[in-house]
Amino acid sequence: MKTKTNTQGGRYGRSGLPVEFDGIARNFKDVAALKSFNLHADPGELIVLLGPSGCGKTTALRVLAGLEMPDSGRVTIGNHDVTSLPAAKRNIGMVFQSYSLFPNMTARENVEFGLRVRGQKQSDRTARSNELLELIGLKDQADRYPHQLSGGQQQRVALARALAIKPEVLVLDEPLSALDAKVRSSLRDEIRRIQLELGITTFFVTHDQEEALAIADRIAVMHQGQLEQLDTPLAVYTNPATEFVAEFVGTVNRLPGKVINSNTVEVATVGPINYAYDGAFPSGSQVEVLVRPESIGVRDGGDDTCRVLAKSFLGSTIKLTLLDKSDRLIIVAIPTSEAALVANSETVSLYSRGDALLVKDGAR
């Protein structure tokens, strides 16, 4: 389900370039930030590097930008090996977490900086900075200094500055994490819009799974310096390759179960659930089953009941925190349309309404 729609190139008449990480390793003193890291990005694709802090995502980004030299491995951009090229020669636009604008320059001067370094004429620079300030909607603030701009505006300028040099690849290192929630989601959409418009291959680092799901063509989930899974947001969510991915992206319930046949497993409290597993466990084996909250439904009454500990209304869904008879916490998300089911009940029983996410050997 790879998105190929963005490779046509935006209105700047460029199409993105493929990017390849090939067996990158990078150690800081005794800590291995990256160990044989491989990743291939298609032209024009937006790849989100997602993972907990310390997983190596920022290091991967800095290696691509040339700000960090790998101990071994190769980085190629559009079939050119850039591994030993210094950052200044790579033509990669970079946006940092925060405070990266040069404080002694106005927004416009910041945007023009890369062009000034390249010795472009003032008239060309002005034309280009006008174009970009327009693109990010800050033309009126062009002559303000960074400290006169809000956090969101600063990050827009940083984006414009990175794009001004017509970079071959755009990299963004947690560009939204210092902003408040509302600005974050609107700027997120704007970054995506601009990225699609330009058709530029983009890497976006974040530890926020919601952000990753919303913006990515493909998500690269990283863990301990390695790539755990590279797939579309939907696939990462519905079909996680590993337990870590399942836990990190979205919420899961871990429940003990017993295999009934090659595609059904009997899960404690919930009952039978479908699962797809190639290796197939022998019938009767004890397993642990990972189930998403929305794959479980509730109904009134029944024998195997759970106590409702808390109900939180999240708009389109209601999140229920339940305690089953063996004192296991179970999180269930039901559509708001089913609110009546739990309106007055203190106990509910459960059933499966979707597939199991993962089934793993051995119950604890």
């Binding site: 930030a33 802090s53 920022t58 290091t59």
Partner: protein, 286 residues
């Protein structure tokens, strides 16, 4: 002579950062720091050597024994200490309520008061002395004719750093919330001061006191021009008669100012370091 407090208000510099920004070579660092270090150490070592120098390069402690045997040494030291204690007392009495008040009631004017505390830097102490003579000559003798006037003026002259020490101490605690919490629990201002403010401001109060006291022990211009023989004035008189005694005395005076200053500088910088735990996520192992 204008002195400035160690900058205890400055924000913690991100240590890992600046060394990366500068990328200066090791030889450069060693050469610069060694040369500058020598400039500061050689006079101390020389003073020590000089003060123990007898006839024909022999070693003697006579400079020190003679000093300690001089009645004036003790009396001037006592006078300076008395002036110092008075000044510290007056300073705290005046500044603690002011600083607290400014933070609680006039937080917007905080910068204005900080700037006002720097005003004494605009008027050199020699000029202040002249002004004191011209304007206070008519005052009763108990004020103008006794060292009381020294304490009164030293409060002003030491203000640039005493105010700053207290101000940054108050700034570092959430004073407004503490006061409001105290008031909501029914505590009056006196109790608030005693049980909430003073314990929380202890560091700043000690810092301000040491800086002020050190200033008083070292101040020369006002005291000598108003003809009070304080410790530094005595030191100059000794210097005209016996160089080695003057040097011995200077060395003692320097050590006595440096040691407490070093202690508060270290204490303050440690506290500053403690408060700024690095955000690991920002750096990600780098």
């Amino acid at each position: 002579m204008v002195t400035i407090a160690p900058d205890i208000t400055s924000k913690p510099g991100s240590a890992n950062n600046s060394s990366d920004v500068l990328r200066l070579g090791r030889p450069f660092r060693y050469i610069v720091l060694t040369l500058v270090g020598l400039f500061f150490i050689v006079p101390i070592v020389s003073s020590a050597r000089f003060s123990f120098l007898g006839n024909h390069n022999s070693f003697t402690i006579s400079a020190y024994t003679q000093l300690f045997g001089t009645a004036q040494f003790w009396s001037t030291l006592f006078l300076s200490a008395k002036v110092g204690v008075g000044t510290v007392f007056l300073t705290l009495l005046l500044l603690i309520p002011t600083v607290v008040w400014v933070h609680v009631r006039l937080p917007k004017l905080r910068r204005v008061f900080e700037a006002a505390s720097l005003l004494p830097l605009v008027v050199p102490s020699v000029v202040v002395t002249l002004g004191v003579i011209t304007s206070f000559r008519g005052l009763p003798n108990i004020i103008y004719g006794t060292p009381v006037i020294l304490s009164l003026e030293y409060v002003v002259l030491a203000l640039p750093f005493s105010y700053r020490a207290l101000d940054s101490a108050v700034q570092s605690i959430d004073l407004k919330t503490l006061v409001e919490a105290g008031q909501s629990l029914g505590s009056g201002w006196i109790k608030l001061l005693r049980y909430v403010l003073l314990p929380n401001l202890r560091g700043g109060i000690i810092g301000a006191s040491i800086l002020t006291f050190a200033f008083c022990l070292g101040e020369f211009a006002v005291a000598s021009l108003l003809s009070f023989t304080t410790f530094p004035v005595f030191l100059v008189q000794v210097g005209q008669l016996a160089a080695s005694q003057a040097v011995a005395l200077s060395l003692l005076a320097l050590l006595f100012t440096w040691i407490p200053l070093a202690v508060i500088t270290i204490v303050f910088s440690q506290r500053r370091a403690k408060r700024s735990t690095p955000v690991l996520d920002d750096l990600e192992i780098s």
